[in-house]
């Protein structure tokens, strides 16, 4: 299973990239992918309570199910305008 993972703003700075791919049996929902990256980048933990999730360009819940080929994005509350 291959998932495209995007990070934005402060989260991209922490991870050091705006795009990554995970090949991952056992990753079943959006939050499990966040957990995987938080394991590698502990600074992400400070964003756990505020991070927003998107699945294929639409807001998603932590428990939203992911499938092969999906695009998942993690980002802080927005600040455009």
């Amino acid at each position: 299973m291959s998932i495209r993972v995007l990070f934005f703003a402060s989260l991209a700075d922490i991870v050091g990239t705006r795009e990554a791919a995970v090949e991952a049996p056992g990753l079943t929902d959006v939050e499990s992918i966040f957990d995987r990256f938080a394991g590698d980048f502990p600074a992400l933990e400070t964003y756990r309570s505020s991070v927003l999730f998107a699945l294929n360009s639409e807001f998603a819940r932590p428990a939203s199910e992911v499938k092969d080929g999906d695009e998942v994005a993690f980002f802080p509350p927005v600040s455009g305008g």
Binding site: A9, S10, L52, A54, A73, P76, P77, S79, G80, G81
Partner: protein, 136 residues
């Protein structure tokens, strides 16, 4: 018209392209780059977006504005990348027969953009830089 652009926004041409003879009001909101934030001097800003989702959400904001207010049309253009003080980062143009709904829809649109459109700004100071994070 809903767009993400990297070049300066020509507000008047957007307004002119939207306006029709049946419109009695054209309300324009411009977000502009301010030279201060929380008491600190800002040198410039950079905007980043999750572009595919941001465009979709701008369209959603426009569509909700047209559903909830009796307006004729709405355009939203947001600029990305580096912007200097005084430059326009975002423009909303609303046209309608009467001014009331146009003002209300314009206010609704900028408030909605600040909640649901995945765009972020980074403030650059003399002594550092910081991503601005909105409130939930």
């Amino acid at each position: 018209m809903f767009r993400l652009v990297r070049e300066p926004i020509n507000v008047q041409s957007i307004a002119a392209s939207l306006q029709r003879p049946e419109d009695g009001a054209v309300v324009i909101f411009e977000g502009v780059v301010r030279n201060h934030s929380n008491g600190k001097a800002v040198r410039f800003l950079e905007y980043q977006a999750y572009e595919s989702m941001a465009l979709k959400k701008l369209e959603e904001v426009g569509s909700r504005a047209k559903t909830e207010f009796p307006i004729r049309d709405i355009a939203i253009v947001h600029r990305l990348g580096h912007m200097d003080i005084g430059e326009c980062s975002a423009v909303i143009v609303v046209t309608s027969a009467h001014r009331g709904p146009a003002f209300e829809a314009c206010r609704f649109a900028i408030d909605a953009i600040k909640k649901i459109v995945p765009i972020w700004k980074k403030e650059f100071f003399e002594d550092g830089e910081v991503w601005v994070e909105g409130a939930h």
